[in-house]
């Protein structure tokens, strides 16, 4: 192949056939560098987002697992405060705070139910787990029949 053909399409820095060698201009170099940097930046951002996503999923799973255990624990004796656990809920460097809420549910007034189960009381047990920055929260809820019999004096019937 003729070397002249090769030099036809681009500017060689090497002097060929009397033509002055010429490098890239500053602008060209800057544009190329900017493009390269943008590409690298996108790549890094994607990597970071992906690893953050994986971490979020793991934290969510841990929180769900913790919430389920705490729900079983709290719903076992729904008339009492939850059992105390002195172990801190810190898993893989993240602190999880658990709050348990009890709420008495008044059943929908229903004559049949009222006749069949006059002392039916439900307790809603809800576990809320908070963790991380920015704060994330999940909650699980279950219902238990109240263990204690309702005395007519303390719970007036509707």
């Amino acid at each position: 192949m003729n070397p002249q053909d090769l030099s036809a399409g681009y500017r060689s820095p090497i002097r060929i056939h009397g033509r002055a060698a010429r490098g890239f201009t500053v602008i060209e170099t800057l544009v190329a560098l900017t493009l390269l940097a943008a590409g690298a930046g996108f790549l890094l951002a994607t990597l970071g987002a992906s690893s953050r996503l994986v971490r979020d999923v793991r934290e969510n799973e841990t929180a769900l697992w913790l919430a389920r255990s705490r729900l079983v624990e709290a719903a076992a004796y729904p008339d009492r405060p939850p059992p105390e656990d002195d172990r801190p809920d810190r898993y893989e460097g993240v602190d999880y705070r658990t709050r348990i809420e009890y709420r008495e549910i008044s059943p929908v007034p229903n004559i049949e139910v009222d006749k069949l189960a006059p002392a039916l009381r439900l307790i809603e047990v809800r576990v809320l787990v908070n963790w991380g920055t920015p704060p994330s929260q999940i909650h699980l809820t279950t219902y238990r029949k109240a263990v204690q019999e309702a005395s007519p004096a303390s719970t007036p019937r509707p």
Binding site: W65, E73, Y77, R87, Y91
Partner: protein, 185 residues
């Protein structure tokens, strides 16, 4: 006149060292990413194993019978109405392994007649590589005012607990407790 001019040695050295630094950065980034991906995969496998264990114990424990219950800090034996073993107990044991770690094993205990003859009952390893494996028992509140209390030991003569827990930890740190509730008395 020769106007061809290459790079000077200094320029070449600067360029090579810059390229080296950038390559090293790239390699370390790659290594970090590979490490974290390997760690994630291990954690995923572990959490799958824990989930399977959780289901197995939850299912069996939900049908715990009041007889045949025997428990310590690192082992648990009970009869469950949920399994086909009839009146022979299931046994979960935290066994210490070779590398100062623990593994959780599951046995279906054979009837007394078969126990002496054949080989030891075949166990199934549910979880391995644990740095902590411990059972705990929730003592029911004795009266209206009291709160349920977690116990590490359970006397043989007492009525078996309805709620139990399994505390686990791996080399990466503690895991949330697994807590199970039995519906039967």
């Amino acid at each position: 006149m020769n106007t061809r001019r290459g790079f000077t040695l200094i320029e070449l050295l600067v360029a090579i060292s810059l390229a080296t630094i950038i390559t090293l950065l790239g390699v370390s980034l790659m290594r970090t990413s590979i490490n974290s991906s390997v760690g994630n995969e291990e954690a995923l496998k572990q959490s799958q194993a824990v989930r399977d264990t959780q289901r197995l114990i939850e299912y069996a424990w939900s049908g715990r019978q009041s007889n045949g219950f025997d428990a310590g800090k690192t082992q648990l034996e009970f009869i469950s109405s949920q399994t086909a073993t009839g009146s022979f107990p299931l046994r979960f044991v935290c066994q210490s392994g070779e590398h100062n770690d623990f593994a959780l094993w599951f046995y279906q205990v054979s009837p007394p007649g078969e126990r002496t003859d054949g080989p030891a009952p075949a166990g199934e390893m549910l979880l391995a590589g644990l740095s902590l494996c411990k059972f705990g028992w929730l003592q029911a509140p004795p009266d209206d005012k009291a709160v349920a209390v977690w116990r590490e030991e359970w006397p043989a003569d007492r009525v078996p607990p309805a709620v139990m827990r399994l505390d686990l930890a791996t080399s990466r740190g503690p895991l949330p407790p697994l807590i199970f509730s039995a519906s039967g008395a």
